[in-house]
């Protein structure tokens, strides 16, 4: 009697099961609509600052691209259509004492497969408070900061980024968690 080892069968993941190529999709989409391609920000050099304080003693900022709810500019609720009127163009700050009413109807999130019904999917403030309570993080910054999503790299780089830095320094933070919507 002969025996043979059972054949191991390698099963690959589906070809499309990769991170979505957003830059290519966006480029193709807007070219088809008749617009010229967008030039995405791209650098060779990347700055790096090691965390100089143990995380359990560090003060950590939260930076978001979500927008404060504005009652007069239309639907900003879960699943709302893209709402350009809800956009903002200046850095804002709100207290981290309680979770503020921030929405994401002003950006192109995936409205087909998610609905922005739970703020904790794009604003981890409650989870960060849990982390502070558990001693994982030393403290939160007293304010979270909102970053405008401007198509202009120049405005983001020359105006908004220095303003965010200024506010983070005012708050005396050691580190920042940044969360796009």
């Amino acid at each position: 009697m002969t025996t043979s080892a059972p054949e191991s069968k390698t099963v690959f993941a589906a070809e499309h099961d990769v991170p979505i190529p957003y830059m290519q999709r966006t480029r193709d989409y807007y070219l088809t609509l008749g617009y010229s391609p967008y030039r995405w920000a791209h650098f060779v050099e990347v700055p790096f600052t090691p965390l100089g304080t143990p995380l359990s003693r560090a003060r950590v900022a939260l930076i978001t691209t979500a927008a404060p709810f504005q009652p007069k500019v239309g639907d900003q609720g879960p699943g709302a259509a893209y709402n350009a009127a809800a956009k903002f163009y200046q850095v804002y700050s709100v207290s981290t004492e309680s979770v503020p009413d921030l929405r994401i109807s002003h950006v192109g999130y995936d409205r087909l497969h998610t609905s922005a019904a739970d703020i904790n999917t794009y604003l981890p403030l409650a989870r960060m408070k849990d982390a502070v309570a558990a001693g994982r993080i030393g403290a939160l910054g007293p304010r979270l900061h909102g970053a405008p999503t401007n198509r202009s790299h120049r405005v983001t780089t020359e105006t908004d980024c220095p303003e965010i830095l200024r506010r983070c320094r005012e708050d005396g933070v050691d580190a920042a968690v940044l969360v796009p919507s």
Binding site: D17, I20, W40, T49, T121, A147, T156
Partner: protein, 127 residues
Amino acid sequence: MCHQTVSLAARHLEANGISTVIMGCAKDIVEHCGVPRFLFSDFPLGNSAGRPFDVESQARTLELALEILKSAPGARTTMQSPLRWSADASWKCDYLDLTKLSPEKIAERRKEFDEVKTIARAKRETS
């Protein structure tokens, strides 16, 4: 645009002595820009901080980001969250999928986009 904005902000903070970590869903945009630390969740845009109404997923996502913040050995550190949005990955094919759009629909989308741009411009100019 959100992912590019926070990437530029992370770079600026980091260059000025503040350590950063990004939690996001658009891997190509963040890595193309080049950032210090990045936790990538392979979820639909809008879920950078975890799955909806799933505290465990959100807590785990934050914890991974904090771990990277603490221990990344250098710039361009990306970790992909092991969490899956769904067993079936076909949702990834849908975002801005042109193959499902008729010429009429494309014309309609262009009109909508022009309208949106007009609203955004007006808002920007009054800000």
